[in-house]
Symmetry: C2
Subunit: 494 residues, 2 copies
């Protein structure tokens, strides 16, 4: 695979100097246009030691405007990072739309090194690479431009390069025993590299292999590829204006859907006040004890609450938080995104709220908004909400892999019950603020929401992260059911 | 001081049950109104172990709507926190306007414990308390409502309380050897508490001492105080609408100012191209070596660039970044704040960008915007920009205390030189985007800006964090001067 990058390509100093001014002007120009474009650019650098990854990044920073570039290199994770799924630290450093992110020692670094050291099997490595491909697909689907450079040197060229670095007092510090150790493992790194490129070179995020021996050649090659990739993307979008035009028109939802999982719920389930009060104390006490154990064991919990308006999410959440130590627990209400959140992938705002180890985070509405309100209200295109099912499953897989307890509730009420609650709220002094014109508007789309909920449950209720469907017409019954399920989830994990 | 909190105040179960419904409704109502108000509420809990701090916070969370409350308890700092000034972790957890933050083990915790253990002298403790008072003043001046509860128990009551907790299997875990050790040190904690309350009870952030023995009494006392504090603030603001009305009208700047520090600069200083190129290489090399040492020594650097439009900030910054490893270096361009930033104190957005240990952060414009553009353009009131000098000095003190190298540049050019550069930019294909109508508008206020700069330098050029005034008419001269100063700053710190 790397033969083409071992032919000894060079660029003369003269040719280099000739091409440089126009190249820099083009890069600056592209960057300038990018500032008002609605996509971020991720540039990933990988490859063998000494192939010029760091130098190239520094050079690009010097050639371009460093104010709109974030350069990130990921070493050992900090303790805050270790407490979340591995991708958390990459998500938190993603560039916003209109900006560039240069990634050295990126998401490829640890898997490749682990594989070269044979800490993981070929199959495990393949799994990790597929997860990376999914990560990049998720970002690319959202419009991110992903450009990846694999900087290559053959074993002999690498040896010469390391020797050269060692002989110069200014660069000697860069060559440590580790570099020589890796050099001896060259075959293994090449092997891991091949597997990486094969598995993760996709149409949306292709690798460009760059021969790293000659500094002029590699710098100009990388810079030109980057310039071309940005310009191509900018001109693709140019005719339709600056904003990413939605290509597929949202379709009307089929309101005559057949029976749904929701229609199978026994909505008559109820619980009397007395047994409710008894059970409430019992399960709150149990949840408290379980959460204390979870906290000591550094097990985090995420509870997701979804349901139609007036389904009783708030009341149920308060019965949970009342059982927990407020120090360990955070409720995240999901309303309209902030402008920082809008400048990123829609999942970014949820990644940023993932709890530290041993804590409980309660999402009052969640990432499922993408396939519920955004679908029904046509805020997301058909493509967008359709691919969200897979994106969400992948996101939740990572939570589960990290050992996080994930419980998802859909609290269901009937259309009649909602009407009753709306009227009750309107008639109450204390609760009238809870009901707005929006609520009535949403209610008019009941059938569309029902279908969206049905699809959501069908596609995202996995064995690992099942939905708990809660019959919510009776609040007492619903609250106990919810507490019970939270206890079960924690108990299984501990 | 605590005598009044040792009289054995109680509230009967009956009286408690009577008052509770109205109290809860009032708290929820206040919270609801607060959601659209333009200030955050900080509630601080401190006091001796066993006095009910945690229980009270949990109760308030149960009584109010936990979605708009963030409860934070600060234990040992994470490694990311340790790499910043101590207040960083408090700043990052401050509630946005319209929200409540409950703080357990807050900024008072470590200083009080350190003092009780005699790890710090009385004088040092006093210094820490004064810094806390400044912190609270900074937030209160910005509109934050700060409510502080000191939960007290006398030594005997504390003993009984710890024994009671120990005798119940459900609460036994909360009493460890540490609690008993602290109990024995009761006198010292009381002593540290008195000093704390005396030094940090200000009009804007007063302490309320609460007798913690009786659960009903302390819960209702805290809840009522909180309700009253929020209502009082809400009604103070009510007549002037939801938004915080600026009370003092910004005054016109005296454009006939006498001579300024800037008028003393020798603006004819210049450097020829040849020596520039030689010196550039020399100082860039030196800076690179120094930063590598700083990185190994975990010394962080912050460079602040201010200057009129077209002063050459961008070019100077690129000469610095070109010398550094892009991995270690981040340029933060300061433009209009995001909506998340607007929902916090103006310093919050700078706190959040403080670098991890061993890195360089370059601010292209900075917190000084408060006393420059915000003053001249009347975006800040006279009160706001006037108190900003002290706030900024305090902020920078903390950077210096943490061992961060702070270098602040004011790049100055003459009015004629600016005109020449504006025209040059307008005439250039590559640079024309750099000049906008805003630039011409700002230019018309030259004298006002000059006076603001003069005041800024006078008040914020401290021995610890002096301004470097750079004569910028000649770019070669300015860039070398800037590089030189950065090297000097690092060299002194290492």
């Amino acid at each position: 695979m790397f033969e083409a990058a071992e032919v000894g390509r060079t660029l003369s100093k003269k040719a280099y100097k000739q091409r440089l001014p126009a190249l820099r002007a083009a890069l600056l120009g592209a960057q300038q246009q990018l500032r008002t474009a609605s996509f971020p650019v991720l540039v990933v650098f990988a490859g063998v030691d000494g192939a010029g990854k760091g130098e190239t990044v520094n050079l690009l920073n010097a050639w371009m405007d460093p104010r709109w570039i974030a350069t990130r290199a990921f070493g050992d994770p900090s303790d805050e990072e270790r407490e979340r799924p591995e991708q958390w630290r990459f998500w938190r450093e993603l560039p916003a739309r209109g900006r560039l992110g240069f990634f050295l020692n990126s998401w490829y670094s640890r898997p490749v090194v682990d594989r070269a050291y044979r800490r993981v099997s070929r199959v495990e490595f393949d799994f990790q690479l597929r997860r990376i491909a999914e990560f990049e697909k998720t970002l690319a689907d959202d419009g991110a431009l992903i450009v990846k450079f694999w900087m290559h040197l053959d074993k002999e060229a690498q040896r010469v390069r390391l020797k050269t670095l060692e002989s110069d007092p200014l660069t000697r510090w860069r060559v440590t025993k580790l570099q020589w150790k890796h050099w001896k493992m060259n075959d293994r790194f090449i092997d891991a590299g091949e597997q990486t490129i094969r598995t993760t070179s996709t149409a949306q995020a292709p690798w460009t292999i760059v021969e790293g021996r000659d500094e002029q050649y590699r710098s100009v090659t990388v810079a030109e590829s980057l310039r071309d990739a940005i310009s191509r993307r900018l001109s693709d979008r140019a005719p339709s204006g600056q904003k990413h035009k939605r290509t597929s028109r949202p379709e009307p939802v089929d309101e005559q859907a057949a029976e749904t999982v929701l229609s199978h719920l026994d909505m008559s389930k109820r619980l009397e006040k007395r047994p409710f009060e008894r059970e409430l104390l019992k399960y709150q006490g149990e949840l408290n004890l379980l959460q204390r154990r979870a906290s000591r064991a550094s097990v985090s919990t995420i509870l997701v609450f979804e349901g139609v308006d007036a389904a009783g999410k708030g009341g149920a959440i308060r019965r949970i938080t009342a059982a927990l130590d407020a120090r360990d627990c955070q409720v995240i209400p999901i309303a309209a995104p902030t402008d920082e959140e809008l400048a990123h992938h829609y999942l970014w705002r949820f990644w940023r709220h993932l709890p530290r180890a041993g804590r409980v985070t309660i999402f009052d509405r969640s990432w499922y908004g993408r396939v519920l309100v955004e679908r029904v209200e046509r805020l997301a295109t058909r493509d967008e909400w359709r691919r969200a099912y897979a994106e969400i499953n992948q996101f939740e897989d990572q939570l589960i892999d990290r050992g996080i307890v994930l419980v998802k509730y859909w609290i269901h009420i009937t259309k009649d019950e909602q009407l009753r609650r709306f009227k009750e709220r309107e008639g109450s002094d204390v609760k009238s603020w809870k009901i707005t014109a929006d609520d009535w508007r949403n209610r008019a789309k009941w059938a569309a929401y029902e279908q969206a909920v049905n699809d959501m449950i069908e596609r995202t209720s996995t064995r690992q992260a099942p939905w708990t469907l809660v019959e919510g017409n009776d609040k007492y019954y619903a609250r106990i059911r919810i507490l019970q399920t939270a206890c079960d989830g924690l108990r299984q994990a501990l």
